[in-house]
């Protein structure tokens, strides 16, 4: 083989379908985990700002435990621990059940970060805003709906964007939890003895794929944050 063969994109495009399948699996995991982590994070944030001490304590304990645990550990505990040992399965098909455990594990992990982003957003609203709303006679739900949340949501967009970008990148760790996303496909190709010359194009291709996923997400959230920023 010659040096120029290292940049031969032939083997890469021969296996293009497998790589696209991998990226599609990554996107499916990102979308499902994005929605679910937003739900989990909102519930947790409402716990952490609640006037009820038990809820606050539960939220704090959850966030501190999950934020300080490596994602790899969370995902392996989901697949090997909860699925295999405790036999809490979603379906008889192992592919489906590992997919949903990956979604759940990634959402449980990301939810803690979403919670912290939302909570810091609520804290950016000056207390005078709430006091003014109360003195106008607005009820709790009215002041939440019309005064506080509209301001809090805007302050939250940029940090939420960072959290979601980190989540897209974190989907790669799901390969440790038996979910076949793009890194799993990449590893399969690299293990083929015949794939020697395709390694550089493969890494370039996957890198470009992630740039395509991550950068527009970042620019979108950045644009949205700038557009909706509250001027104080």
């Amino acid at each position: 083989m010659e040096l120029s063969d290292l940049f031969d994109f032939g083997p890469f495009f021969d296996n293009f379908d497998a790589i696209l399948d991998g990226f599609w699996a990554t996107i499916r995991l990102s979308l499902a985990a994005g929605v679910l982590s937003l739900i989990i994070g909102t519930i947790l944030a409402s716990f952490r700002v609640a006037p009820v001490p038990v809820l606050r304590a539960a939220g704090t304990v959850y966030v501190n435990i999950v934020r300080n645990t490596p994602l790899t550990l969370v995902l392996i505990m989901c697949s090997l621990g909860l699925n295999d040992i405790l036999a809490l399965t979603f379906s008889d098909d192992s592919g489906t059940t590992y997919y949903w455990w990956a979604v759940l594990g990634l959402s449980a992990y990301t939810g803690a970060f979403v919670c912290e982003a939302l909570r810091s957003g609520i804290n950016t609203v000056p207390i005078g805003q709430a006091e003014a709303a109360r003195s106008l006679g607005l009820t709790f739900s009215q002041s939440l709906r019309m005064i506080i949340l509209p301001q809090a949501f805007r302050a939250v967009i940029a940090p939420l964007g960072s959290v979601f970008i980190a989540m897209i990148k974190n989907t790669t760790v799901a390969t440790a939890a038996s979910y076949a996303e793009v890194v799993t496909q990449m590893k399969t190709l690299l293990d083929l003895p015949s794939f020697t010359s395709g390694a550089i194009p493969l890494f370039l291709g996957v890198a470009i794929g992630f740039l395509i996923l991550v950068l527009p997400t970042g620019y979108f959230f950045g644009w949205l944050a700038k557009r909706t920023a509250v001027v104080r």
């Binding site: 083989m1 040096l3 063969d5 290292l6 006037p51 009820v52 001490p53 606050r56 435990i65 300080n68 645990t69 490596p70 790899t72 550990l73 392996i76 505990m77 040992i85 405790l86 810091s120 609520i122 804290n123 950016t124 000056p126 207390i127 805003q129 709430a130 109360r134 709790f140 939440l144 940029a158 940090p159 964007g161 960072s162 970008i165 980190a166 990148k169 974190n170 790669t172 760790v173 390969t175 440790a176 890194v183 990449m186 590893k187 020697t196 390694a199 550089i200 890494f203 996957v206 890198a207 992630f210 740039l211 991550v214 950068l215 527009p216 620019y219 959230f221 950045g222 944050a225 700038k226």
Partner: protein, 330 residues
């Protein structure tokens, strides 16, 4: 917190206090139910058996698996932190350069590595040299490749044998951690230097300092105080990310716990995960506490004229730099 009004809730009156008491009861019941369901399920599968838990009281389990794993985790984290700080300082200052030919490449490098998943960088170091080195060995660059490995990369344990390079898992993990966290550090350094008021550097120039003098004597000393909490908070992220080394079989804490202990002690995967998780949480809480303490200290500090960056505020993610809003508050 409970006794005072916050932005969402006014001070509770008698009816609200009653409601809160009811909510407390209901929530306590629900949480107790969740815990009970877990305990029952564990019992159903026989996971409370003493033989599954007792290994963690034996010294040989700690000596053979947990402590060596912890040593590898902390070792990789320490080496990666030092190298990432160097990387971050170089590229962070590079991005502030007045020369476009320094600023633009530094910016591209930092934005690229922040957008790349860590695992892909680790795979790159672990698999790529091994795949392509035999081809390079036969080319005119073969001697150069061998010399580079023999005289430089061998520090990290990289070996070359008959033209084929093997990268140890340790080096691959450190490589990935340095590029990713180094890029985050670069953004922290940039934000830190930018947070020093402009008057400081203007004053420096007006007393006749050059660019290097202003940077080294005026900006950096003040910026370091401001950046410390963010840097320590990022070290927690780095420490957690060493666990990704599990995937390429680097014998760190997680790998030892899942691959070392369960095969020898009745497949106690759940128990090993819980014990190791507790160790990670303890270490990270300790480091986070240190970051909070640093932050409080640096807010009181009069050594800097800049506003302290919060420990919780990592710089915005890749692709969002254009709108880098103040991450100063928490």
């Amino acid at each position: 917190m409970s006794g005072q009004a916050n932005v969402l809730f006014d001070l509770p009156g008698p009816r609200a206090r009653m409601r809160h008491r009811i909510a407390t009861g209901v929530a306590a019941l629900v949480f107790a139910g969740i815990v009970a369901a877990f305990v029952v399920r564990m019992d159903h599968k026989g996971q409370w058996a003493g033989s599954l838990w007792s290994p963690f009281l034996k010294s040989e389990v700690w000596e053979n698996f947990i402590l060596p794993g912890l040593k590898n985790t902390l070792g990789a984290a320490a080496v990666a932190t030092v190298l990432a700080l160097v990387f971050g300082a170089v590229f962070g200052i590079g991005r502030l350069s007045e020369h476009g030919w320094i600023r633009v490449p530094c910016g591209i490098v930092v934005e690229f590595f922040r957008a790349m998943p860590l695992l892909i960088m680790i795979y790159l170091a672990f698999f790529l040299p091994n795949k392509i080195s035999p081809v390079i060995a036969e080319s005119p660059f073969g001697t150069l490749q061998r010399n580079l490995v023999d005289y430089f990369f061998s520090i990290f344990g990289v070996r070359i044998d008959a033209g084929t390079i093997t990268v140890p898992a340790f080096a691959a993990v450190v490589f990935g951690l340095v590029l990713y966290n180094g890029s985050v550090f670069a953004e922290i350094v940039r934000a830190g230097i930018n947070s020093v008021p402009k008057g400081q550097s203007e004053a420096g120039y007006s007393i006749g300092l050059r660019k290097s003098g202003v940077l080294l004597r005026i900006l950096l000393p003040q910026a370091v105080t401001v950046m410390m909490p963010s840097i320590v908070a990022q070290i927690v992220v780095l420490l957690k990310d060493t666990a990704i080394g599990f995937i390429i079989a680097y014998p760190e804490l997680l790998n030892q716990a899942f691959k070392g202990i369960p095969p020898n002690y009745d497949n106690n995967i759940l128990q090993a995960g819980i014990v190791v998780g507790a160790i990670y949480i303890a270490i990270n809480l300790l480091v986070s506490r240190f970051a909070v303490w640093l932050e409080a200290r640096s807010r009181r500090s009069r050594k800097t004229s800049a506003r302290t960056m919060g420990a919780g505020g990592a710089p915005p993610a890749a692709g969002m730099a254009a709108t880098a809003t103040a991450t100063g508050d928490d």
